[in-house]
Symmetry: C2
Subunit: 283 residues, 2 copies
């Protein structure tokens, strides 16, 4: 049970955290803050919160858990602003897709004794964005990374893990850099692959896609993701993504060369290796 | 209405053609032939056929439409075997995923006056293979290519188009080489991309995939396809696929370089181009 939960800049994820916490009775009081006055006006009276603060500082002043739900390139400045205003022992977390830069910057922000920053990344989302589309069930059975550093108080780690589990998530603990390497491979690389495939096909007659089966539809689905969000992610996780892209480029070139050389044994080995890996997915 | 339909080497697709034709009353008589005697024994008594022939020649002797449903690398030899045994005016088609080599070879096989080969490629399938999994609804609303050459009698083209439409398919007419270029891009390239991505990720700790969201799941789904079938397709359509792979390689390398140079305007343009193309899919 969190005595006082504060959600700053709630979008889809932030409002889902509040709704889930309210529905499951996990927070005594829920305060939110939004950057724009008209959004704050819309939020007032929502059943999943208790009050709307006019400034980030006011929102966090008495909070025991603060969730920074801003876009990934705004989280650092928001943490810097609220850090000195925190209550003693408060935990600040976020929901950003990249953790290294945020956790490194947050470690340098001065904050009261016992207060700390501890990053989170719930692997949940929707094609829809905005707080009005939040769902109390959004985190159920979804992976949520929690990314402590060597200086994270172990009590805060235990408490934050417990919070995400109570929201229905499956918690995975990883250091910020390890998290970033993992998501570079399992999330950011697939985006680059799907986008490149979509661009390669866009060069050909546009109508061909209407002749395709479900294979092309699935392989390119995530290419429809929001470009602004993805530019931010590529900016924040550039180094780890570059390594993943280089690995993919090697694999793809090797596949093409196997075909060019008509090396059917090598091509078959690649198809079988890919199949074995894909067959190993949990269902 | 086809007076006499013969299906040679029925697997999933061939038995679906027979079942759909029977259910929709499109064929007066349906004869099948399978290579193995034990399969012929199993087929006898199936409600969607009238008789099982012991040789390809016997199966086609009186047929007005012959469907060669063998794997793509067996179709040419099967056509060569049956071509001299055809009835006058018979149409031979197939269900192979690659059309150029088959249509070129078939044009050289001597056959009786008025008989012809005219390729088909129904874009339908299932994870399941084998005649026992055939479905009479398999072709409904699916694209089916029909691939005439300059020498195809127009009457045969009209009749084969009508047959596939009667089975529920949406017929697209394209020359064999054009068909092969299209499927190299919309079907074979995505397979190479999904397989390479799966292989690149297989190099990293295998458990990471269990942390992924639906994006990775969708992007790599077709990597689970049958390796033997795909080796045959890559063999048959090598030249057209090599061109598609080269285009993809260029796109992917350009994406990586944009990230390496931190050229966010270029990266954003690529994400937006991919999104626009993907948003243009028919729903």
């Amino acid at each position: 049970m969190i005595q006082h939960l504060a959600i700053l800049a709630p979008g889809l994820l932030g409002s889902s955290v509040a709704r889930a916490a309210r529905e499951r009775g996990l927070a005594g009081r829920i305060t939110v803050w939004a950057r724009r006055a008209e959004v704050r006006a819309e939020l007032r009276g929502q059943p999943w919160l208790d009050d709307v603060a006019d400034t980030p500082g006011a929102a966090v002043a008495e909070a025991s858990l603060v969730v920074l739900a801003a876009p990934v390139d705004r989280i650092i400045e928001l943490d810097q602003e609220i850090a000195p205003r925190l209550a003693a022992g408060a935990i600040v977390t976020d929901v950003g897709s990249v953790k290294g830069p945020i956790c490194t910057a947050a470690a340098r922000h001065p904050r009261p004794a016992g207060a700390c920053f501890l990053g989170s990344h719930p692997m949940a989302g929707s094609e829809k964005t905005g707080w009005e589309h939040g769902q109390p069930t959004l985190f159920e059975k979804r992976v949520c990374f929690v990314t402590p550093t060597d200086n994270t108080p172990s009590g805060a780690l235990v408490q934050l893990e417990k919070f995400w589990r109570a929201l229905g998530a499956e918690v995975v603990v990883a250091a910020p850099a390890q998290h970033d390497e993992i998501v570079a491979h399992i999330s950011h690389l697939p985006q680059a692959v799907a986008t490149s495939l979509a661009c390669a096909l866009a060069h050909k007659e546009g109508d061909w896609r209407h002749l395709a089966g479900n294979g092309l539809r699935d392989t390119t689905r995530i290419a429809a993701g929001d470009a602004t969000m993805w530019v931010e992610i590529f900016q924040q996780n550039r180094a780890a993504i570059l390594e993943a892209l280089a690995r993919q480029e090697e694999e793809f070139t090797a596949f093409r060369l196997a075909l060019e050389r008509s090396d059917w044994a090598d091509l078959r080995a690649r198809l079988e290796r890919g199949k074995a890996w894909r067959d190993g997915f949990r269902t």
